[in-house]
């Protein structure tokens, strides 16, 4: 188990330039694909946010959450969902979409999940820039608490890579994995307290389960940095749950990666 984890970590860290290049050119190719290029990276999330705001904010008239305007409150959590969600769906396809590469040369397959995440990270940073412009409009000015976002972003990256490591290998064994993941994404969005506040759930017990959700930990962390300023320690139970789940995913993912590293080509 530890051997495979060391193997995966080593392969990733010795191939940083490879990861960077793949992500860079993949982004470039994506942008060249359409006439408006980078514009869609912004337009897509904006349209989604407006939809949710229309349904929940206007039609259902969600009031401010903890004194924070609903649209801002939602944006604060939604922004990281826009990072994690494509990481999960594309990460699942990380190996399969690179078949042309792995069948043609000796290639360190375990770097592929990281390339997907790095590519999405660029889009995320673009969105964060927009947020930094939008939030002052609601009276939320950047302050030193916002620096905590770097920690939560790191969490999101590690979690996404660990999860993709597992799903991408499973997807090679059976292509159904991707279909399952795609089907579960919408469910995950509504089950994670992103569009609604966790305290609206009547049962304390259910709330505890919700708080163990690693994605909720990250979402809550982002919101804490933007609005609540309670600090890392306020969520220590979620934090422990998050790192345990992430570690298990990473251990299992790298074990699979290590075991199948030469077998992928025969699974096509």
């Amino acid at each position: 188990m530890f051997k495979s984890m060391r193997y995966v970590l080593q392969e990733n860290f010795t191939n940083l330039f490879r990861i960077y290049s793949i992500a860079k050119y993949e982004l470039l190719a994506d942008m060249r694909d359409s006439k408006l290029g980078l514009f869609w990276n912004f337009a897509n999330p904006v349209i989604q946010v407006l939809t949710y705001w229309f349904v929940f904010g206007l039609v259902w008239d969600r009031k401010a959450v903890h004194g924070i305007g609903y649209i801002f409150w939602m944006l604060g959590g939604m922004v990281v969902w826009f990072f994690i969600s494509p990481c999960i769906t594309n990460g699942c396809n990380a190996i399969y979409s690179k078949i042309g590469v792995i069948t043609k040369m000796k290639f360190p397959v375990s770097v592929l999940p990281a390339t997907v995440v790095l590519k999405e990270l660029f889009n995320h940073l673009c969105l964060m820039l927009v947020l930094i412009i939008v939030f002052p409009l609601g009276g939320y000015y950047p302050n030193y608490h916002w620096l905590g976002i770097f920690y939560y972003l790191f969490c999101a990256i590690v979690f996404s890579i660990s999860l993709s490591m597992t799903t991408s290998v499973l997807n090679m064994l059976a292509r159904d994995t991707r279909k399952l993941v795609l089907a579960c994404m919408r469910l995950l969005l509504y089950l994670t307290p992103i569009l609604w506040d966790i305290e609206r759930i009547p049962f304390k017990f259910l709330q505890y389960i919700m708080k163990a959700n690693p994605i909720y930990y990250i979402v809550q962390g982002y919101r804490d940095c933007f609005f609540y300023h309670k600090g890392f320690w306020a969520y220590h139970n979620s934090m422990i749950a998050f790192w345990i789940i992430t570690f298990i995913l990473f251990a299992f993912g790298s074990y699979m990666m290590y075991k199948f590293k030469h077998k992928f080509i025969d699974m096509i």
């Binding site: 490879r18 290049s21 050119y25 470039l28 190719a29 043609k104 040369m105 077998k263 080509i265």
Partner: protein, 270 residues
């Protein structure tokens, strides 16, 4: 480990599983793509690999390149090997230059090494001003020339060339052949997988003939080529009925008893 040899195959077998025609009886057959292959290739030798379609040449090339692993036996390689194939995934949206950089990075070169090979690739592939055009605007000849040139610039110790010299027009093919001859003089080991008997005769020292997944013969290029040509002639003279019988016979010799491998078995006992 004997340093005198570049590549050594010891009882190498590669097995693929086949889906059965009848879906109700889930009896997946297993099939030898390569069966019990033994040979040694000396350092600096140029070997041509001959064989009819479906005899296992491509499987051989991916195994030699270290991309696929053998199922039985072992392969010993002394030195860095690289597969040179015509069909490499260039990204259609990117320009020629960006493709060189991407491909270089994929192959594991550093930034500096990529800068070094760039001029070499540009010169060899003869794409000129098309370098700054997206690859989707290239002719198919240009694409394969670019891909081939990037691979050539890698300069490993052992080359595995898979049908690559059918790239582009006569002029470029000649240029490739010249380049290969240059590499040969430098003492590189080259495994040359080709359909063209003439190219193998001209270029290789020895030849290796695989038929039906098994090693038929390995030795001096002229002798093997003559035998191979004779076999192809013999096969072509057969009537359709006889051809089919021969094919079936070959196929049956490559079959293995079935083995049940479900999803979870695949997961846990590889």
């Amino acid at each position: 480990m004997n340093e005198e040899y570049a590549i050594e195959f010891r009882h190498v077998s590669k097995i693929y599983s086949l889906k059965s025609k009848d879906k109700k009886h889930n009896e997946d057959k297993r099939f030898y793509a390569l069966k019990d292959i033994n040979f040694k290739i000396k350092r600096g030798e140029v070997v041509g690999v001959l064989g009819t379609n479906g005899s296992g040449k491509s499987t051989m090339s991916v195994i030699l390149a270290g991309i696929s692993e053998v199922d039985e036996g072992e392969m010993i390689v002394n030195g860095e090997q690289a597969l040179i194939a015509i069909n490499l995934g260039l990204n259609n949206q990117l320009t020629g230059e960006e493709n060189i950089e991407l491909k270089g990075a994929l192959l594991g070169l550093t930034k500096k090494q990529i800068q070094n090979i760039k001029s070499q690739v540009i010169e060899f592939s003869e794409i000129g001003d098309f370098l700054y055009q997206p690859v989707k605007k290239y002719s198919s000849g240009m694409k394969s020339r670019l891909g081939f040139s990037i691979n050539l610039a890698l300069n490993p110790e052992i080359f595995i060339v898979d049908e690559a010299l059918s790239v582009g027009d006569k002029g470029f093919a000649q240029k490739c052949l010249d380049k290969m001859t240059e590499l040969k003089d430098e003492g590189k080991t080259i495994v040359f997988i080709s359909h063209s008997l003439q190219q193998v005769r001209d270029f290789c020292d020895t030849a290796l003939w695989i038929e039906g997944g098994m090693l038929k013969d390995y030795g001096d290029v002229e002798t093997i080529c003559d035998q191979y040509a004779e076999y192809v002639d013999y096969y072509n003279r057969l009537s359709n009925e006889e051809k089919r019988r021969e094919r079936d016979e070959k196929f049956d010799r490559r079959l293995l008893p079935k083995e049940d491998k479900g999803f979870f078995k695949k997961l846990f006992n590889h």
